[in-house]
Amino acid sequence: MHEWALAEAIAKFIEYRALENRVNKLDYVEIVLGELQRIDEESFLYAFNELLSILKNEKNIEVLRYQLVREKAEFSCNRCGFVWSLDTSTISADELEMIHFIPEAVHSIVSCPRCGSHDFEITRGRSLSVRLNL
């Protein structure tokens, strides 16, 4: 599953940063879930918890506390400056699936509600990001 691949990438990142900073306990990890990517939280958490167990048992690296934070998606038009939010009611299930894997695919699907341009930036809530408190 795609969620597993994302959780695995974050687990590798946690391991890397722990080794880089020579610590085996991380106080806090914050995982930001961007609305645009529509991560399945249940699948992601299942994978992430499994990987954290492996990290603790096999590498002696422990995350003491983590939190998932949801971030709303926001777009800003490069042509007219309009700022807008994601409206999934205008996007088909197939298109949402494409965006789920590659969030930039939104550029071929969504356009600025004011001027119609596809030249816009995803300013918030794109995909996953991680903050660590070592």
């Binding site: 599953m1 691949a5 990142f13 890397y16 494409m98 590659i102 550029h107």
Partner: protein, 257 residues
């Protein structure tokens, strides 16, 4: 201490892990458009797979991918298999294929700068390659896509990256190829060689090859009814076998086959 992963994007480690099984990565490059990078990429991959090398083919022309059309792959109907990531399509024995076209259903993708980098990192961090050699078709120029690819390969293992320069006999293409070879050399990558496409004589390329100490790995003649070959991988393979044999032999030598 709060640490923001700005310069250590979590996807980089995943990409490193996914690319580190490669023996060789071949960015197929040319600063000029229309010289046939996609055709050469497709042909080279098909011949490598036919010769028994597990080969991956990546379409890095992310805003306007066309390799799927050249190979006759219908990206509209295919759903890629998910196994701890996304498995590339296996259109033929020994060949894996990945393109952003699977996620845009072939539509144009108007993106720039950071968005291109994000897309490439997302794509490579989830793609589950099982190949020894990765051929990468790149867009014209030397901008975001190629810089990002070379960065990711450099961070994985700079030794595996061997760009293949494609040119035609046109003076504009040859000048561009020289500029590119200067740049690749300064970036510290060893060139695999140069292929002259739509080629009737290698004389003009010979000068570049001698000046830069690189091998001419193919002189691929103009295909008269090219539109009839597009979408017909078997016809393309038949045509490519003789014209790209030097390139293939060199690659086989590098990967130890």
């Amino acid at each position: 201490m709060w640490v923001w992963p700005v310069d250590q994007d979590f996807r980089l480690l995943a990409i490193h892990s996914r690319l580190s099984s490669l023996k060789l990565a071949i960015p197929v490059v040319s600063p000029k458009g229309g010289v046939g990078k996609s055709t050469i990429s497709a042909m080279l991959s098909l011949v490598l797979a036919m010769r028994g090398v597990d080969t991956g083919l990546l379409d890095l022309d992310v805003t306007n991918p066309t390799l799927h059309t050249i190979l006759g792959i219908d990206v509209y109907s295919i759903k890629l298999e998910e196994v701890k990531g996304v498995k590339p399509l296996q259109p033929f024995k020994g060949l894996e294929f990945m393109s952003v076209g699977f996620f845009t259903r072939g539509a144009a993708l108007p993106i720039r700068g950071t968005s291109i980098v994000n897309l490439i990192r997302d794509l490579l961090s989830i793609t589950n390659w099982n190949s020894r050699v990765l051929v990468v078709d790149t867009p014209p120029g030397f901008s975001d896509e190629i810089l990002e690819l070379l960065l990711l390969l450099y961070k994985t293992n700079p030794q595996i990256a061997r760009p293949l320069v494609v040119t035609t006999q046109s003076s504009l293409s040859l000048i561009s190829a020289k500029r590119l070879l200067d740049l690749i050399g300064r970036e510290g990558f060893e060139v695999l060689g140069i292929v002259c496409n739509m080629c009737s004589s290698i004389a003009s390329v010979q000068e570049i090859a001698e000046a830069y100490g690189i091998e001419i790995l193919g002189c691929v003649p103009f295909i008269q009814d090219f539109d009839n070959v597009i979408g017909d991988a078997r016809a393309m393979l038949k045509f490519a076998q003789s014209h790209l044999s030097r390139a293939v032999d060199k690659i086989l030598g590098i990967v130890g086959l």
